[in-house]
Symmetry: C2
């Protein structure tokens, strides 16, 4: 089993929380290829089975232009991490850094799965009233899309929901502004027709914003602009509303009861493992910028699980082309 | 002062809650033109100063196609309510019915303000951690838009925030998937450039989904597809998350403390007056389908306020054309 490549430099609280997450993963028996500035990677001495440190001289920052950053900073931690996967030194990569750059580095260094028009970012969103998740994609890889791409997102999202979340036969909904197939943009109407006859997709029709946290569909597909807006609207909105309710009820996050604390932890995006870039020829986990050590450790575990589940081979098999 | 036209047939709980809302408005001294099926409008005997009942023989249902419904059902309550405004029998209209049909009826019967490319639906979204609101538009009138339309939405939203919400100098943000002007769709990039030089708009740049419930911008403009998805995502997400938190904390909505109850009421969309269709030549309030009697009464009051504030004249003055 190959180790997991981890970008030590990515994230709002990097490298501190990343190194702590790595230490925990190593303690759990996972090997790590730790990529980052020399003095940073030197701070973790035990990198587990097959683990190694790779020194990189550059860092792509959160505000760097993704494409330009990857093109210019060839010795950056993100690019070197993606190369470790390409070169067979690691089985997967994890980064909490610049999302666009993590995507570009994965795409340019690992390449696309044959037949995939565009990779998409899939995010498992926790439903507050159950232990289930809704898979939303694309969460930001492609601001503009074509109907055929959305069909592939549906096929890839189905594989993700099955392998990552254990949903046996995932249903797929198409984000729109009304349940009727006659509503929505031209893109939605065309996509609706294609999804209705798409192979390997259990399409349940159009869904609306209020369905994201419900069990209406296991997978919801949309363009990367809408998906990213949904994700950030929920992150911000749920947090602000929950804080206001706790405040008005005289409760605090810190002193919350066990059951409440578990819920608050569950619906907090920074504690999750992160999103997965589907469609590239390798496992690439894109963690939330505000990830804590738990989230990093979780992302590393998920990367291993996805490799074990042979998700890339499953994705390859699920993709249909025109 | 002219009475307000109210569609007695519109809404999930119509006509019951609508008639109750009308009774309360009349008790507060507001005249009502009540439009609906004959046996329904006959159920309210006192319609206040200048009030009258208008019998309509048809109803446009929630699932009717908006344009076709307005075209075919010329004697529907929605169409007759819009005509009451056009004909000078009412100063404004209120409906909690089919949003698309309310929009189409308003547009076709009242006409557009000269120079307005497309009307837009503006919604005042309560921020849970303050008593302020964020104005979001377009919330669903136009699934697809052009950059010039979004500039007009910014100008109209500014007037709405000033007149409806009392914000002296409203700031305007453009919904995108990153704060940098280089991010987002082609539409967003073009619109960003136009807004940067638009007259009568205090543009603060791009905003993200997480900013909707924050004080980042008083007005947020976006296309009607994204706006509708945001609104419904928040409605559904906040409710589900808040319910889960209350449940985990052993609290119920019914027995919540005063401060908590006030907050829950404040952030509940069905208790609000509703959205306003900006850009038509008259005041048209589109209430939430799940409105209760309080929301209907509130919508009627807001309609009167908007007429008193001469918002249509203000909108006319604010619109610039190419």
């Amino acid at each position: 089993v190959l180790p997991v490549a981890v970008d030590a430099m990515g994230g709002d609280d990097a490298p501190g929380v990343v190194l702590e997450g790595v230490r925990r993963a190593v303690a759990a028996g996972i090997g790590i290829v730790l990529v980052g500035l020399p003095d940073v990677v030197a701070r973790v001495t035990d990198l587990g089975p097959g683990g190694e440190a790779i020194a990189a001289s550059e860092v792509i920052g959160m505000s760097d232009d993704p494409a330009a950053g990857v093109r210019r900073k060839k010795d950056s931690s993100l690019v070197r991490a993606a190369e470790a996967v390409r070169d067979g030194r690691a089985c997967a990569m994890v980064s909490a850094g610049n999302t666009g750059a993590a995507m570009a580095a994965s795409l340019l260094r690992m390449g696309r799965i044959r037949g995939v028009n565009r990779p998409a970012i899939a995010t498992a969103i926790p439903r507050p009233d159950s232990l289930a998740f809704t898979t939303l994609l694309d969460c930001g890889a492609n601001a503009e899309v074509q109907p055929e791409w959305l069909v592939q997102f549906a096929q890839m999202g189905t594989v993700f929901a099955r392998r990552r979340l254990g949903v046996a036969e995932p249903t797929v909904g198409l984000m729109s502004i009304g349940e009727e197939s006659s509503k929505g943009s031209g893109l939605v109407k065309e996509t609706h027709d294609l999804l209705s006859v798409a192979p390997a997709v259990r399409f349940v029709g159009n869904v609306e914003g209020r369905d994201v946290l419900k069990a209406t569909a296991d997978v919801i597909v949309t363009d990367g602009f809408t998906g990213n807006v949904i994700l950030k609207t929920l992150e911000g909105g749920v947090r602000i509303a929950v804080d206001a309710v706790l405040d008005a009820a005289g409760l605090s996050r810190a002193t919350a009861a066990d059951s409440l604390g578990a819920l608050l932890h569950r619906i907090e995006p920074s504690t999750h493992g992160g999103s997965m870039l589907l469609g590239v020829d390798g496992v690439s986990i894109i963690s939330h910028g505000s990830s804590d050590a738990t989230a990093i450790e979780s992302a590393i575990r998920i990367a291993v699980e996805m490799v074990d589940a042979e998700i890339v081979a499953e994705l390859r098999a699920a993709i249909t082309t025109e």
